[in-house]
Amino acid sequence: MMQPGLYHILFISALLFFIGVYGFFTRRNLITILMSVELILNSVNLNFIAFNKYLWADKSDGLFFTIFIIAIAAAEAAVAIAIIINLYRSHHSIEVESAEEMKY
């Protein structure tokens, strides 16, 4: 069986990233947007792990970065969900178009 190389993983990571970006741009539901953000973050995680494993296998910097990012993503998700809940309370909707007051 063929071992997956660095490029395979980078390809998947890029795919994941752009799926996330696409989702972020097109979705209207804030929860889905948050999920897209998580996809983007995870594509970054994948990148870190891949580079760490294939280029500097004797080091573990990339691993640590990934762990940090996971922790931060968890915190960010908590904050984002709190914001979304508050938005729902005030606007009775979690559609992103319903929160457009912050403009010129």
Partner: protein, 644 residues
């Protein structure tokens, strides 16, 4: 040397009254404020008389000459070594005389106002303003420094403004106080420039040093001041003329007199104090203070003083004959009498017998303060009784106001120059001085003195004789003790002040001169004065058709005089039509279109640009993400392909 403390107290006591009543008067001393101010001023008056006695009979005379005594100087503002503004006290015959006049008249007015202003809502404020005025006037007269004088000069201006506009709910009073302030302030600009010119050349602001340096022939300062010239006139003469403009503004000399008649909107005691006896003679005092410089170094400027004074005396006397508001008649009469003082200074020379005009001017200032304050207080009593300023509402008041009648008559006789009342002596000296120096001025002055007698007795007969159709009979009496006492005291002054041998005390160089009276010389002015009185009697003692006929026969001249020679209208024409249209409007156009245009253009450009930019801030989160991503991609492209 006198103790400076008690001399400094003379102005400081009224200042204390101002501060005390100004801060606490309305709240704590609503009714007592008048008494407090009067008592403080009484103390100040006593000190002033004591100082005068001491100066004239004790320490002032050194070897038969009245010296300038400077008991106090404090350096107040030092700009550099040698150039400083001092605060000081100078005692010389004229400042001591002014101390007496100001405190005495002010005291009379304080007492009079106790009754006259009774029940006034802002009684305490009124007294605090009087205190401020008295303080500034007293400090002005004892100033040892020309800049100190300027400071107090402005302070009397502001107190005059405050007091004219005392009834600030009356639009005419508000207009009058603004007019007075603006006109005198405009003139004061001349004074300020004059001070700067003089101090630049003399290198000092101190009166004594300045006079010394600018009168000593051959001194370095005098030579430079005479050598530098502008339009063919020496810098010194310019300086003195500018100073005189300030003096003319304050003393209501033609053509800066327009504020004085309107200033009669103020309460009558204020008119008596400020616009008759004290503040308006500040200009005369200023010229007298700088008299050695005028007489020795700038005789051309002194000529100007003489002719402006003569013209003002004549014009004001003519106008006074036609006015119907009694206070305005008195205002024009004041202007006329100050004109006398001015030209008396103008025809005088420095030193010895030739300095008679100077003595006469100060003498007239003294006697005029007495009889003119009395006339105003009398007019105040009449107005209090009638509740009108107009002559047509008056008549036949001699029975109802006996004391006012007698005192007013004394004042009228004094101002008309009938012997033995005070005005006779001072006016006689002025005419004599004019006769010796300048015949043209003498003839005009003589004619004016006839007119003076005529208009004063026109006033007298219209108020106290004539018809008695007024409906004000017997509703209240003449006024209390506080009204009558000042009038009686001033009447005594007006009757007897002439017997003071002024030539012994006040002269240009401090040596006594003999004032002599030639019967032949005084015959013509007295005869002319009596003729004026008789003419006034013939026209106004009984109600008749003669004044109307006379006015009709004079036609244009009468109309001209009633309208005060259209001087106000000329000013309005110059300011409104010429200054506003030719300077104001173009300047306003430039401001509106060019200056504002540039500012608005900047604003509009910013607005248009920001209007475009602000669309980016749409509030749509996903749009922001697109911008962000575009930016990141652009940066990536940049780093990969350009900055590699």
């Amino acid at each position: 040397m006198p103790d400076p403390i008690y001399i400094a107290l003379i102005p400081l006591l009224p200042l204390a009254a101002f501060v005390l009543l100004g801060l606490f008067g309305r709240k704590y001393f609503k009714n007592a404020s008048g008494v407090i101010a009067t008592v403080l001023l009484f103390a100040s008056t006593v000190l002033a008389f004591y100082t005068a006695y001491g100066y004239f009979f004790d320490f002032g005379k050194v070897n038969g000459i009245y010296e300038k005594v400077v008991p106090l100087t404090i350096t107040w503002l030092e700009f550099s070594k040698g150039v400083s503004i001092d605060m000081g006290i100078v005692l010389d015959p004229i400042s001591v005389m002014m101390l007496v006049v100001v405190t005495f008249v002010s005291l009379m007015v304080h007492i009079y106002s106790l009754a006259y202003m009774k029940g006034e809502e802002r009684f305490a404020t009124y007294y605090s303003f009087l205190g401020l005025f008295t303080f500034s006037m007293l400090a002005l007269v004892i100033s040892s420094n020309i800049f100190q004088m300027y400071i107090f000069w402005e302070l009397v201006g502001i107190s005059s403004f405050l007091l004219i506009g005392f009834c600030y709910d009356k639009p005419s009073a508000v207009a009058a106080c603004k007019k007075a302030f603006i006109v005198t302030r405009f003139a004061d600009l001349g004074f300020l420039i004059g001070i700067l010119v003089l101090s630049f050349y003399a290198g000092t602001l101190d009166f004594n040093t300045l006079i010394q340096r600018l009168t000593l022939p051959g001194s370095e300062e005098l030579d430079t001041a005479l050598a530098s010239s502008f339009i063919g006139i020496s810098a010194l003469t310019w300086g003195m003329v500018l100073v005189f403009i300030g003096a003319a503004g304050k003393s209501a000399m033609f053509p800066l007199h327009i504020w004085l008649p309107d200033a009669m909107e103020g309460p009558t005691p204020v008119s008596a104090l400020i616009h008759a006896a004290t503040m308006v003679v500040a200009g005369v005092y200023l010229v007298a203070r700088l008299f050695p410089v005028f007489a020795i170094s700038a005789p051309e400027a002194l000529q100007l003083v003489a002719y402006v004074g003569t013209l003002s005396a004549l014009i004001a006397a003519i106008i006074a004959c036609t006015q119907t508001d009694i206070k305005r008649v008195l205002a024009f009469s004041t202007m006329s009498q100050i004109g006398y003082m001015m030209f008396a200074l103008g025809v005088s020379k420095y030193g010895g017998e030739d300095g008679l005009g100077y003595t006469a001017s100060m003498f007239h200032l003294f006697t005029h303060a007495m009889f003119k304050a009395l006339l105003f207080l009398g007019a105040g009593a009449v107005i209090h009784f009638i509740h009108s300023n107009e002559m047509k509402d008056m008549g036949g008041l001699r029975k109802q106001l006996p004391v006012t009648h007698i005192t007013f008559l004394i004042a009228c006789l004094a101002i008309s120059g009938v012997p033995p009342f005070s005005g006779f002596f001072s006016k006689e000296e002025i005419l004599l001085a004019a006769w010796q120096q300048n015949k043209l001025i003498y003839w005009i002055a003589l004619f004016t003195s006839g007119l003076t007698a005529f208009y004063m007795f026109r006033l007298y007969f219209r108020i106290f004789w004539n018809n008695t159709n007024n409906a004000h009979a017997e509703h209240h009496g003449e006024g209390g003790f506080a009204i009558l006492l000042p009038m009686i005291l001033l009447a005594i002054g007006a009757a007897a002040a002439g017997f003071i041998p002024f030539g012994n005390f006040v002269t240009t160089d401090g040596t006594a001169i003999e004032s002599h009276f030639d019967l032949a010389f005084s015959a013509s002015p007295v005869a002319l004065g009596l003729a004026g009185i008789i003419a006034a009697m013939w026209l106004y003692k009984k109600q008749n058709e003669r004044p109307g006929k006379l006015a009709a026969s004079l036609g244009g001249l009468y109309k001209l005089a009633v309208h005060k020679f259209y001087i106000d209208e000329i000013y309005l024409f110059i300011t409104k039509k010429i200054v506003f249209n030719l300077i104001g409007r173009p300047a306003a156009w430039f401001d509106r279109n060019v200056v504002d245009g540039i500012v608005n253009l900047t604003g509009n450009v910013t607005l248009v640009i920001s209007g475009g930019i602000k669309k980016f801030q749409s509030g749509k989160v996903q749009q922001y993400a697109v911008y962000f991503l575009t930016g990141v991609i652009l940066l990536a492209v940049l780093f990969i392909y350009v900055f590699r």
